[in-house]
Symmetry: C2
Subunit: 459 residues, 2 copies
Amino acid sequence: MDQNIITQLESIIGKDGVLHTPEDLAVYSYDGTFEEHCPDVIVLPRTTEQVSQIVRLAAQERIPVVTRGMGSGLAAASVPFSGGITLSMTRMNRILEIDEVNATVHVEAGIVTADLQSAVEKRGLYYPPDPSSIRHSTIGGNVACNAGGPHCLKYGVTGDYVLGLTVVLADGQILHTGGKLIKDVVGYDLNALFTGSEGTLGVITEVLLRLIAKPTVARTVLVEFPTLADSARPVNAILAAGIVPATLEIMDETAIACIEEAMHLGLPLDVEATLLIETDGTDKAAVLREIEAVAAICRQCGARQVKVAENEAERSILWKARRSVSPALARKAPNKLGEDITVPRSAIPEAIRRLIVISAKYELPIVIFGHAGDGNLHPNILFDRRDLQQWNKVEQMVAEEFVLALELGGTLSGEHGVGMLKRPYMEKALGPVSIKIQRNIKQALDPLNILNPGKVFPN
Amino acid sequence: MDQNIITQLESIIGKDGVLHTPEDLAVYSYDGTFEEHCPDVIVLPRTTEQVSQIVRLAAQERIPVVTRGMGSGLAAASVPFSGGITLSMTRMNRILEIDEVNATVHVEAGIVTADLQSAVEKRGLYYPPDPSSIRHSTIGGNVACNAGGPHCLKYGVTGDYVLGLTVVLADGQILHTGGKLIKDVVGYDLNALFTGSEGTLGVITEVLLRLIAKPTVARTVLVEFPTLADSARPVNAILAAGIVPATLEIMDETAIACIEEAMHLGLPLDVEATLLIETDGTDKAAVLREIEAVAAICRQCGARQVKVAENEAERSILWKARRSVSPALARKAPNKLGEDITVPRSAIPEAIRRLIVISAKYELPIVIFGHAGDGNLHPNILFDRRDLQQWNKVEQMVAEEFVLALELGGTLSGEHGVGMLKRPYMEKALGPVSIKIQRNIKQALDPLNILNPGKVFPN
């Protein structure tokens, strides 16, 4: 990076906010995928005004700007393949206001989502979206990817909570959207446009979120199914009965075995699948009746056993199990590649059948878990990346997973985003007309293509 | 309109689908506002392909295209001020599929929303959004305006149910968005972009909607408040208690008096305000406990009486009252102008106080009712339009209502849209940066500015 640019960046945010040693560049070269590329410089702004000045300079000099939260992304959206400026939001992590009466929270984008969640819970409020990365990912990253999580079946995803944003646009101008308003139909829905735009349309610097009253009661069950296929059957039956569980997660036998091996929680090792189901609310009797109805439906659908968590300790064991799936898989193989396909709920059994076929065809295990209630599955391929033959197989398997999802009326991602990795499948997923108008929107908002260039859209 | 264009339109959809006598033009010249302007021709297509050909022709010939459902809009969005083609969607009113397993319905855009709602209810499914115009407005119009309604506090507005759209773009190309997917983060959120875009970005021809299981129990109360100011107090208290009523509607004394005068339902005539509150669900005991808790909170907040509807007949009387507000006001004055401001919930009492001041200042009654739970109020000015002095006052009063909303952190519309009428206030509501990028988006999708030209954006 030109020393003159470095000097200008330092004059905007101070020397301690600009990193450019080779070690720094290496540290900011990757995210949660296998991809890597060094930026030319990292900036750590503290204010929206600083972000504005940085982007203005970048626009002037035609330098790419890649916004980064905590780098936990699973689609390489924050890997700076074109070099340029990596704009790390981690120093913008303040809570600006918790409004208890209107049930809103206003934060800077770099706050870790779990920190936000615990701060509002202390006031009796609740921010439901809970991506598995919640303890290290930032709310800005969650908004940029429209993150989901196990509580999103009942409560909706990140985008359902975004009331307003502060966004630095591609020319450095500062945009404020929305407000503390439940209903607002004035102009186009810019909150929704920036949510899930993966850093390609603007730099999100502040987020205003809707909150709800914190549920006071939860009941959790682990349901054991002898066959994986049966385990998908209760999903529609439960929802058709008018019960919307907070959580309806599926884990297959390999997932369970990995967790049990790692954590010794007493999970069943002789079933093909388990469902983790939780009902919650503020009315204890109703929550209990709901979980009983859920249990009855599961039994009718072929469940062998429904284990009810009898107390908070037992409940936390079940959640510990679910939250440990991803790390636990690391014990089974040197590498894993977790995908994020979604299908219509009715297609879950067929999706599972086809994933098993793909696994058998390539002779590599696919562990299946995910948000069954939303039709959002995370097939994780286990492999050894040092073995080039295996890596080649993995690439073919992922392609087949995407074909599977699209053939069943599904799509490439439910909560991780497109980033760099799914670009080759975008045309097939959305069709040329959709790609074209999305490119037009990108061009309209970022005519110089400096914001996260090369991401989301096919080459 | 050039005879050559008429002939081409007739060749696309047949002679019976093209109207252009002076009588026809007059019939399609207005909507639910006081505005009027004749189109040059009306077309009544039956398929998306026909719409595509019509728009292609319009683009070629640079003719404005104004899409129209049933003309019940309250912001003049479908009044064709630039003439051109009015594209009436009323012949595209088929239900294409009800998918009971995935709980979705796929319809043509011209179906009346109540028809859609009753069709899915026969299958045990439920489409919650219920604008007061539900028996005559179309789902396409509801999507184009992101319509709300009294059930939207608990269940969300139209946009929360849109899973997919078929849209004819400004060049005649056909775009398909979304699918039967609860979660989908592939590319920009085009469903949300077209929802609420008031016909300026594309012609919505088909809609795929998410449904939920039909609630089986509802309990409804009418709560009487001696003072209007007190009536707003329970709103936040109820929500803070973790109760989300399906409905939380406010009606002031004039509204109640007008309904009572028209319908003789036995409504209280000696209180300043009433709240209509309904809880619903599938668990009878829980629904009952919720309504009891609601009643207790209302009493603590100064309610004089909480009347519980003891049976379905009593419940339907209360709903009949709420649904009749708008027509009942017609008895009180020759004309009314109903606005649609939203404010943060905490600002409702202050908004009401200021509306009373505006009414007193101009010596014209403002009737207040609306969706208190959402902070969405419909102040209705009663007047006689033949009296020019009154009409001038009304215009000033509306302007003051908008100032009031903006000063309290609110905005111009919660569910009616901007259309033609609120354009002068857009810059103040959104600021120049927002307006500029929205114009850029409009330009990107409709470079010839043929789709509903002149709407939404300030001159």
